[in-house]
Amino acid sequence: MSCHVAHERAAAGQRLLALRAHPLRIALVGQPNVGKSVVFGRLTGRYVTVSNYPGTTVAVTTGRSLVGNEVCDIIDTPGVNALEGAISEDERITRDVLTSRQSDLVVQVADARNVRRALMLTSQIAALGKPMLLALNMVDEALARGIVVDAPALAAELGIPVIEMVAVEGRGLPELRASLACAARPRVSAHPNASDRAAWAHDLTDRVRHVSTLSLASIQEALARATRRPATGLPMLAVVLYALYLFVGVFGAQTLVKLLEDDVFGRGINPAAVWFADRFIPIALVRDFFVGQYGVITMGITYSIAIVLPVVATFFLMFGFLEDSGYIPRLAIFCDRTFRVMGLNGKAVLPMVLGLGCDTMATMTTRILGTPKERLIAILLLALGIPCSAQLATIMGILGGISFAALATLFGVVLGQMFLVGWLAARVLKGERSEFILELPPIRWPRLGNLLTKTRLRVWWYLGEAVPLFLVGTALLFVLDRVGALVFIAAAGRPIVTGLLGLPPATAQILVMGFLRRDYGAAGLFQLAHDGQLTGVQAVVALTVMTLFVPCVANFLMMVRERGLKTGLAILSVVTPVAIFTGAGLNYVLHAFGIQF
């Protein structure tokens, strides 16, 4: 837009600024997967997770940015397709930011390919009466598909600045900052209903967008097609799972763990720590606290760094690659029918697959699901059956070393149990499921920079989240051991642990620790298996029970936060008996048929 009017307005704005009680608050709003979080990162220097699927951001993040000589608060919001009508929980969060006093100015981020949909949203934002501007992101991808948007013409029609951007490369960001002062209320007459809005967006798009048949993105399109067709998509899924197994299960859980546990810790750190403690710590109790059987270093640090970290890191790297490629939502096409039996629809594949990274985060991601019933079932199934990365680590580490049949038995039983519980929940719980409607993101080659940043931050997050709990857990075990409570726990748990599940008595304390964090318990099993104290059958039974338990204290707290204490306790009281009885049944069947692994 011609900006001299806007400059005067900006000057007036700056006078106003001096009177402002808080920094100017700028909300980044737009359809899912248009790059709001990338723009946020560019403006604030803060990284929030960026991926290639709708629903990566399900909560509000705020950061500071200097625009000109003015400090602004930038608000990253969950993607919205609409601000009114049937909207999901994450969309409601964004609507609240926009309709309340939490935001003063709106930057609508749009996918340049999809101006038509963007304009439907623009019309709804305009109705809120806040000054705004429109950032057309990913103009490079649009161009590759033969789509050109006449930004000046669009700006003239709307009466707001329209900036063309390629946010991942930082292109258009200086222009965006410069234009913030020119933000204005769009000249859009109020549209009484959604179809009027759609018709308006349609006509305007016809005037400002030119689509030629030229397409340079044919390799991506061929890949996109291959991933969703059964004849090519299912073999591709098998290849992806096998690659995941090789990279995480073999390279991470065996090669790296062996290197760290046996060489770095077993021959380096732990003997050095013991030597140091023997020389400098005269009190036996304190010495044992650090380097004894339940020592903070010999057990806590060893478990978290040597056993779990390598697998978590390799998993996050591979997982980030899959996230950024746009592959995961395409699995929804294959899962839809199965999920419908469990009262869900294909869209639930997103939280389920994310649960393999971290069940706690995935519990939050269930916000993208359509109905409260779907959310509840998804949260229940996440808690019941989806092993998080840290736990996958120990499963792969223990069972991968025994046999493929052992691994297949565990996943078969866990998936079967999820299916059964989901089927029951779909029938018992009130409410309805929503229909399967999912936008598929384009297939992209992941950017190495984003992949590494994301993996690094997730590994740091794991270290900050899990290691303290591992240490607290170890300290607790140490205390319990000293006051003789471990013997008591083992005795109390005997009917279940040795009777029903057929496990060695020492497993009782490990199962108790499994309540704190499943992977901590699983790391205990890893140690036990490593020392040759578990048979193949025992390992499978113990890990199955552990997998079916509620993942960790953090996951439980998240369930309470998202669905309330009553629901959290209800889920706990369903999951725990299911875990124990499934383990008992499995133990019985394996013995009855004389199966060894």
Binding site: N114, R117, I147, R229, I333, D336, R337, E435, F436, I437
Partner: protein
């Protein structure tokens, strides 16, 4: 739109052949919220669609958005095939 319509009648999206192009005529609003959700994704009368895949789920391109939906949803989207592609 500057596209010529065939004399073919209106039909549900599910009746299109794969890769067949059409223009949306109506989105039936028989389930609560369905039309709203589709509308928000740009599935509106006048928008061009191409059916990409029918099994295991229906996948279609609407304007520039690739959408996966279940059969019931696709059946509620009424389209008119574009001449020359039928």
């Amino acid at each position: 739109m500057h596209l010529a319509f065939s004399s073919n009648g209106v039909r549900p999206l599910t009746a299109l052949a794969e890769t067949e192009k059409a223009v949306i005529v109506e989105v039936r609003a028989d389930v609560h919220g369905r039309a709203d959700r589709l509308l928000a994704l740009g599935v509106t009368p006048g928008a061009g669609v191409t059916l990409l895949q029918r099994f295991p789920g229906i996948v279609f391109l609407c304007d520039q958005t690739e959408l996966a939906v279940e059969r019931d949803v696709a059946a509620a989207i009424l389209v008119r095939p574009v001449e020359g592609h039928a």
